[in-house]
Amino acid sequence: MLEKVKPFVLLGMAVLVACSYQNRIKPGTLSKEPVHYSLVFIIHGDGSYIYHDIRGNTYRADEQALEQAHRVADSLRDAEVFIFHQKPKKSFLVLFPQKDGQAYYYRNGKLFIHQPYFWTRSDSILGFESQFFAKHSRLSKQGRRLLFYYGHQIPEFEPHIYHRSHRKPFSIDLFRQGLTSLFKKGKQRDNNIDGIILSTCHGGTPAVLYALSPLSHLLLASPGTLHLSHIDSEPMISLLHQKSNGFKRMMHRFSRQVFINLTKRTETPVSLVLYDTNQFEFKLDSLMTAYTDRQKVFNQRPVRCIDCETDPKIKPYLPSKGVTVFFRPSQFGKSKHKKQHSGWGCWVPEDRSLTPPP
C-alpha cells in the first residue's frame, strides 16, 4: 500500500517545495561599496511581444530587454539595479493564481535578491515595486537615478486595457503616479529622476512630455513607431564607466548609440528624441493647450500619430530648443522621402490628412 502511494507523496512534496519558492536573499553579503547610480528597469511582458530578426529568428521583446538588463546589472560595479518583469497572469490548475512578476535587485554587479510577486495586486500602480525600491535602495544623495520602461505605447488620453491577461487599466497619468510613488524615497527635488528612457511607440507626444516632465528633465523617447527590438540598454555600461563626460552628455551619447543600433537592424522608420525639458518647460503649457484643443476639434477617436509639424495649428507651439532629434526615415513606404522630424508626435483620426482643416 505504502509503495503505491509513494509516487504521489513524492509528487506532492515536489509541488510543495516548488510553491514555497521564496526570495533568494544572501544576508550579510551586501557590499559596502558606494552606489553612484540607481537604474530601475520596468519590463512589461503581458502582451503581444513576439518579433523576428532579419534572419527569421523569433524573439520575445520583454525577454530580450530582460537579458540586457541583467547584463547591465552584472557589469556596473558602482550601481544598484532594480529589474521588474511584469509577465502574463498564470495559475496552477486554473484555480490557484501564481506570482506573475519577477523582481531582481543587484548591487555592485551582484544579484542579491530575486523575488517573485503579484504585480497587479497592489491598490496603487507600481505599489509592490515602490515598496521594494524603498526597502532596498542604498543610493547616495548625490547619486543618479535612471528609469527604463519597456512596453507597448502607453495610452495617453484615458486609462484603458493595456495588459492582455490582467484587466487593470493603464494610462500615462497612472504611469506618472506610479513613478512618483516609486521614486519618492530620498526625494531631494521635484525632478527626482535624472533620466527616463521610454522604449515604446509614440512616447514623444506633448501629452507624454507634459505628464513626465515634472519627474525628469531628461527623457529619451520615440515620437513615432518603435520596433519591438526596443532601445538597447547595454551601451549604458561603457558610458556610465566614463565618469568625466557629465550626465547630460552621457545621455546624448547613449541616445546616439541606441539610435545607430536600431537603424542597423530595421527598415522601418527610426525616430528617437532626447528631450531636455529644462529648456522648454515654460512652453509646455501652451503646447499642451493647443494639443488638447486640437483633439476637441477633431471630435473623433485618434488612431494615428503623425509628425506634429504637419499640423499648422500646433506647429507654432512646438519647442525646438532642448529637443535633440535622431531620425532615419523608413526605407520603404509613403514616408521614405521624409527628410526630418520635428521630434514631436501628434495623434489624429485615421481619415485625417497630414494637414487637418482649420
Binding site: I50, H152, Y162, S165, H227
Partner: protein
C-alpha cells in the same frame, strides 16, 4: 449524451471569459499572424529569382488581405473592429502598390526585394497598440488564414 454540446459551449464560454486564457489566446493569434509574415520573408530570401520573390510577396499579401476582407464582412464584427481591420488592409494595399509600382509608387527594385520583405515583417512588429481587435475576430482571421 445530449448534454455534450451544451457542456462544450459552456466550457468554451468559460475559457474565453477567463482573462488568463483569452489574453493568452489573443496573443497567440497575433503571433500566428506575425509568424505567417515571417514565413513569407524566409521564402522570399530563399527564392533565387527576383520574379519569384515578387510573386511570393504578392501572393502572401493578397491572401492576408482576402482573409481580412472576409472577416470584415462577417456579422458581429463591431464598427471599431472594422476600423482596425480597414487600417490593416490599407497598410497591406500600400505595400502591394509599392511592390508593383502602382498608385504613385515606383516599383521596388529587384535588388531591394529582400529588404522590402524585412520591412513588411517589421512594420507589423512595432511597440504600439495597433491590434485592438477582439479575440474572436483575431481567431477568425487566423483560422481562415490557416485553412486557405
Amino acid at each position: 449524451m445530449r448534454w455534450l454540446p451544451t457542456a462544450l459551449i459552456l466550457s468554451l464560454a468559460l475559457f474565453i471569459s477567463n482573462p488568463v486564457y483569452s489574453g493568452d489566446a489573443s496573443v497567440k493569434a497575433e503571433h500566428t499572424l506575425r509568424n505567417y509574415l515571417n514565413q513569407t520573408n524566409l521564402e522570399v530570401k530563399n527564392a533565387d529569382l527576383s520574379a519569384e520573390k515578387r510573386q511570393i510577396l504578392n501572393e502572401s499579401l493578397y491572401k492576408l488581405d482576402n482573409v481580412m476582407e472576409t472577416v470584415e464582412q462577417m456579422p458581429g464584427v463591431t464598427e471599431a473592429e472594422r476600423e482596425h481591420i480597414q487600417a490593416y488592409r490599407n497598410s497591406i494595399r500600400e505595400k502591394t502598390d509599392e511592390l508593383n509600382g502602382r498608385n504613385g509608387y515606383k516599383a521596388v527594385p529587384d535588388t531591394q526585394l529582400d529588404a522590402f520583405s524585412n520591412y513588411v515583417v517589421q512594420d507589423f512588429e512595432q511597440a504600439d497598440s495597433r491590434i485592438t481587435i477582439s479575440l474572436t475576430t483575431v481567431l477568425l482571421i487566423v483560422i481562415i488564414l490557416l485553412l486557405l
